[in-house]
Symmetry: C2
Subunit: 274 residues, 2 copies
């Protein structure tokens, strides 16, 4: 195999398995090439990813050391993605009753999901998380893709306890969106005590669901080290949780005038938020 | 940029966006290189993907023509994945009451999900589908990843109609697993009439849920051109649908002896199946 082919294969394998450590030996076996040769190939691969802003290859030392690919969103790509998302979300055809927007098509669109998940993985990669956690249903693809980027298992909190989940722990919580007490449950087998989780969801109004997820994870002695939501609503400004990372804010939805206010995070100023 | 770097960048972009067409002009702009140069780069990329069994680059002609990456699972990788899945599924700790197995950890594991989704995308890529459809909840990551590989939107049928779905169409169906009548609903905005869908789900017993999905899609004049399930149960041998593609079969689950029978598709013979 030629240098170009080896570099291409390294890139294909690393980038499709983000945050997974591969030893140099893995590639030298695959190519039947010396480790020094593979080492040069990796260094070429690293340079080209940097040059094209397509991510980073990191080297980890030690017995279990090796190389891994870290997905990155270049500032330009991040800007493009959020601008596109803002424009799609502002389409007045999305307006449903009660200030709700139809967003399933976006939350299930592979291109949007990949981009959003890369932004979340970049934000949370250094938190030392063991799981990515979401609550069914609409946030599952984005949470799953974030888990894929971070090479972590996904855990899904269910609304109802299902027979296929085995024994579960359930809590009741107040959902501001549904304006009533709701239930959520988590399988006892889903997580191990003492671990750490990142919560990812598609939408947050007052934060009742996310507060519920934090509470149910607390029942398992799992702590939350980061929360990402695609869209947070501006109102109520006082949320039930303090620490969250939203990509966009939803302002007023005017059903009569058929207008939807969507803001970038940097354009929203809360009086009672640090 | 050097040849090696251009080839690496082409591979990174194509393989992370499967089944998406890129024009040669896209890359010649990115690299500020002649189209003839890019064309040679693509041909190197194609050769190395073939040589390493990591997928295929196809060229499409015409005004909207260009190149795209088609993910492929090599026979060896497919074999490895199914062997691993069989072994994990046979772990007696998975046994729940009533012949159920705990499988959420596998259905939410990024490595397993990616491999399984690649197998489904390979199976269904030539069906001319417009959507990948699943029913919440456990099959969503695999269905989403299959949609990502095929570059199609994911559509999720819900158990209950939610306010954030807008107006929906609902049906009742008999679920053999739950042993009762259940409801499913689909947002009117989710699909367009005359389109074609692939159904992906994690598990099928008698096929009641999948028959329900076919029926609800029929209400929208959407036809089903393929059905993939990760695990089908051997019993009942007579399913409610005829055409499905299972990766594995679940045989007897013996709660007393703590044994689980998992079969490869090729090892299962049905008397009443062609």
């Amino acid at each position: 195999m030629k240098r170009t082919e080896r570099v291409g294969a390294i890139i294909r394998i690393l980038t499709q398995n983000p945050n997974q450590i591969y030893s140099l030996g893995y590639f030298s076996d695959m190519f039947t090439a010396a480790k020094s040769t593979v080492s040069e190939d990796v260094s070429t691969a690293r340079q080209l990813l940097l040059a094209t802003e397509l991510g980073r290859i990191e080297t980890t030392a030690g017995a279990k050391g090796g190389i891994k690919y870290i997905p990155l969103v270049s500032p330009r790509h991040g800007e493009e993605l959020l601008t596109k998302l803002c424009s799609k979300l502002s389409d007045s055809n999305r307006i449903l009753g009660g200030g709700f927007l139809y967003t399933s098509d976006l939350m299930f669109d592979p291109n949007i999901v990949s981009g959003v998940a890369m932004m979340f993985s970049e934000q949370f990669m250094n938190r030392g998380a063991d799981y990515v956690v979401t609550i069914e249903t609409k946030g599952i693809p984005i949470a799953f893709m974030t888990a894929h980027m971070l090479n972590l298992p996904l855990v899904v909190v269910r609304r109802e306890s299902k027979i296929s989940e085995g024994s579960t722990v359930s809590i009741n919580y107040f959902s501001g969106s549904a304006e009533r007490i709701q239930k959520m449950s988590l399988a006892k087998r889903a997580v191990e005590p003492g671990k750490r989780a990142i919560i990812i969801d598609d939408f947050m109004r007052a934060g009742g669901s996310i507060k519920g997820i934090i509470e149910i994870l607390g029942e398992f002695d799992v702590s939350v080290v980061g929360t990402g939501v695609v869209i947070a609503s501006v109102e109520p400004q006082k949320k039930k949780i303090d620490d969250y990372y939203p990509l966009l804010y939803l302002g007023e939805v005017d059903e009569e005038a058929k207008t939807i206010e969507i803001f970038r995070e940097r354009d929203v100023k809360f009086e009672n938020r640090a």
